[in-house]
Symmetry: C2
């Protein structure tokens, strides 16, 4: 039986983009079903009753929610183009950084954005960004020469953050403080697997125009 | 070379207990190094500079932080007594529920506790608990006959929540609303792998006596 894959999502969500980048890297074909966040489909509520949020991947009728859980699942089932390393210790480190991005860094950045660039909020976000800056070491990507789970998890930082900074006239990820991350952003959004999936820049800027 | 394992933690932390239960299940020997939360050791800050928190596992000089990341690592390296299932879909579901417990359920319960049982906070916590109640289905444990990642993730609910309820004279996990979870709590804390690791009940009650 051929695999049937449906991804419930929307183009503007960085969490949905994460999953689409993983699907692209693995060369997996899927149906992309666009959700209306203001009028969620009965399918979305049935498949993700806990959070009622995208992304949801449905693989042969089995629904999976949460972008990082979906990516680990894809990596478990489709072995080609691995997103997580084989080595258990490196895998644990990548999981740690992906979790750090979701639990600490993105909330701190959203706080800086929602406060319209309040000084203390920017400083707190920069404190967290510094950990990621250090983690790049001398590499092009967090995964070395190729993108991995940490790169994909940082999609928001690579593209959405810049849109918010432009919309609000603020700067969190400054080139002088974060030279490696600045270069990483440019490298990452120009990857073949990433650039075709990102939404138009003006839509991201408009999202933060509040 | 024999494996050298050190776990930095403290007895009263449910997140440290998670890791100790996983180590017990796998029959792994380790040195337990007790941290003073008010005077953190230089080792802890070196090994976990991002969060400066326990638990930290150091395996042959490689530090790993975050309880769920540590447990996945242990399960990757020590194959005996698996904590995650082999099947990719069941594994994704277990990861989803573990994440739900950390991201949604424990924060909602802490909110109910910190508010000293404010009605709306209790209702919100119960709404989240209901998802876990349903997930037990007719099983003794979330893992079926044996405990798995979801059971271990819910250690706070099995033991700490009851301590907080007693200290504050409130009730969130009521027997009438959550008959399956109530039974699960009793089954879980009586497991061989769990009961020897849990701190004394009176210490947990004292923790919430504020």
């Amino acid at each position: 039986m051929a695999d049937e894959l449906k991804l419930y999502g929307l183009g503007i969500s960085p969490f949905v983009c994460r999953v689409r980048i993983a699907l692209y890297l693995k060369g997996i074909k899927y149906h992309f079903i666009i959700e209306d966040v203001r009028n969620k489909s009965a399918d979305l509520i049935k498949y993700n009753p806990v959070h009622k949020k995208v992304p949801v991947l449905v693989h042969n009728r089995n629904p999976i929610s949460e972008s990082l859980v979906i990516i680990e699942y894809l990596d478990d089932v489709w072995k080609e183009a691995p997103i997580l390393p084989q080595d258990a210790y490196r895998k644990a480190q990548d999981r740690f950084w992906a979790k750090f991005i979701d639990d600490k860094l993105i909330p701190a950045l959203l706080n800086a954005i929602m406060s319209h660039g309040q000084e203390q909020a920017i400083e707190e976000a920069q404190e967290q960004l510094q950990f990621l800056e250090n983690e790049l070491k001398g590499n092009k990507f967090f995964g070395g020469d190729n993108i991995n789970l940490v790169d994909i998890s940082a999609t928001f930082i690579a593209f959405w953050l810049g849109g918010a900074e432009e919309a609000l006239g603020i700067k969190v990820l400054t080139k002088d403080k974060f030279p490696k991350l600045t270069e990483w952003c440019a490298n990452y959004i120009n990857c073949q697997a990433v650039k075709g999936i990102l939404p138009p820049r003006e839509k991201v800027v408009a999202l933060f125009n509040f």
